[in-house]
Amino acid sequence: MSTADAVGAVLWVGATLYAVFAGADFGAGFWSFFAGRGERAERARDQVDHSIGPVWEANHVWLIFILVVLWTAFSEAFAAVFSTLFIPLSLAALGIVLRGTGFAFHRLAPSDRERRWYQALFGAASILTPFFMGTVIGAIASGRVPLGNAEGDAVSSWLNGVSLLTGALFVATGVYLAAVFLVSDSRRAGDEDLVQYFTARAMGAAVVAGAIAVAGIFVYHAEARYIYDGLVDEGLPIVIFSAICGAGALFLLWRGASRGVRELAVGAVVAVVWAWGVAQYPYLLPESLTVNEGAADHETLVETLIVFGAAVLLVIPSLVLLYVLTQRDIVAEEHEPIAGRE
């Protein structure tokens, strides 16, 4: 394994953590958006707030991490992706701004009407942001990003079957993970009604996400052959592992099990990310730029690994501390009085 491969792996670890944790935060926005009206819906939204409030910003930082590692270690690929895919990436950035501010402001809104408005903004942006990010992944996977400054087609590069499907898949996996996490959080909060509420939704989302993944096999077969070949060859064990985890999680959800669902659901999603990585290897941009060709100066790569080592030593324990404090409600959202709801 070359130094460039090691940095590529670091990038993939970041992408995995983003897909799981930020993906679930996006999915929580989806459930907030589609909860509807009524007492139960408000309770579901409160649970969403309570679950993601303390963690979403830290989870969001993985995106920054991916971007900076990408432009430090693989700047040629970064430039090619960001110039050709200017439109979906601008839309993703727009979504990030609307989502973050919508969430930050909604708890502090002066009236119920404004709170709902910010909440809707947060929810809608939570769906659009991962969708556009997914179209970017699809564009890369299907080899539609040529090297150079905006050399690819500005529109068809990301408005195609693979991109749309990958966008839908990123949304769906997040929605699924969010529902699974919300089942656990509701159970911890002692709200049996919400446990059932989110269990039903988690099962529905599992089926939809699975269906999109299966549809993906055909779409990738038609439009992203290199990745498809990798998925059914060296990536196959991971694909099967993902399917087993997904099926297992669905079974446990159906049984109403209180343990193991989260782990299996996360396993299913992590396996999808790594199956894609294995299928795409050794390419950074399939069939035009390999990891080694696109890598930075050796010294820069070594520094990147050192910084990642520091991140593992400093950030991971801090994140664990945050999650533990959150799960034990030592770090917990205070219920600020909201006008009109008291």
Binding site: I96, F105, N149, A154, T304, A311, V315, S318, L322
Partner: protein, 471 residues
Amino acid sequence: MPDAGSIANLLPDLLADSSQLLPARSQMAFTLGFHIILACFGVGFPAMMLIANYIGLRKQDSVALELAQRWSKVAAVLFAVGAVTGTVISFEFGLLWPEFTDRFGEVFGILFTIEGIFFFLEAIFLTIYIYGWKRMSGWAHFWSGVPVAICGIGGAFSVVAVNSWMNQPGGFTLGSDGKVTDVDPIDVMFNGAVSYEVPHMILAAYLAVSFMVASVYAVGMLRGRRDRHHRLGLLIPLTVGCILAPIQFFVGDTAAREIAKDQPIKFAAMECVEKTHRDVTEYIGGICTDDGVKGAIPIPGLDSFLVGFSTDTKVIGLESVPPDERPPANTLLHLSFDYMVGIGSALIALGAWFGFVWWRKRDIPQTKWFLRAVAVSGVATILAVEAGWIVTEVGRQPWIVYEIMRTEDAVTGANGIWVTFVIALALYAALGAAAIFVLRTMARRWREGEAQSVPYGPLDDEPASTPGGSE
């Protein structure tokens, strides 16, 4: 041989190319100018809230604790907005300047990966601090906030070091093909401009936050709210600001001298120096024209003196380089620089006034004029930060990497930047208005004495784990 048809096609292409530069620069300037305000709060505000928290714990002062708690809630809102506007900046490295990042990402990128760690830790510990008021013990909670202030400074170092590097690029070798080799991360990190630009910006962030926070309480006092809450809310940030203002003046003065040496053309534009000569007049204010500065207050010889402590010092003029290597908008640069120096001086004067009265009476000056001065100092300081970024960024033009890469060669080939720029304008205008509105709503609720939970309260007085507790 190109035929007539391909030449006809070439022309619109060229126009399309060069037309991206202006919107790209506008969007970058606008989004960075917006983000820098929030970034200042990210860097400087945690220290302010920790000082209040420390006083509160040390002296069992419930007013100080209440201030710290409220400030942490404001910090939470500003940090959330800053996190997303900062993300926009990182997208723009690719969206607007892909050629820059493509060529030099491997050089300056390492600083951003370090910044990523600081940002991560800042986000994590700020969350613990903000959400930890009720259920953590006092000192444990205080210490959970300390990494936030440290990481704010560390993050500012990493990011501003990148800007310093753009001003004084080093730590790499350019091959004959223009490719970067032999990257030395330490030399990149401690490039020629770091030693003055980084402390200048960190101090600027602290000053901006100090005077912004103080100005809020000064306005409250002018409206007749002279309770201890307002007095302490004014006193803490104002003390910090007044101590740092003279230090900033010294750092800024050093920076200007270094710039005269390292980036003489930027300095010439700041001071409207056309021809290289000695005994250069310092112009305060005015408009820069081809034949001298109009409408300024001239002080003969001072510019030379400021650069080299002697009126005999030679100052390099704009005409020493070809016109296409000079920055645009000299008057803007000149006035921005003068404004920054003017505000720096005014803040020192304000601090002297405050210090003198405090020394004599152990009290905040009671006159309305003092409170009025503090009330405007916040916005004035923020504008000085903006002026400083105009000086460093516009002053470096036409270079994105000083004397190595021109900005026009860095810009994206993608179309539609005008569209994203207009969207960014509208979006950030709405965002700014909403943020101010939300903060004012919070302040109004606090004033109306809305029930607020007591810091470090008993564990069982609120079932925080029950969702829907607000029903």
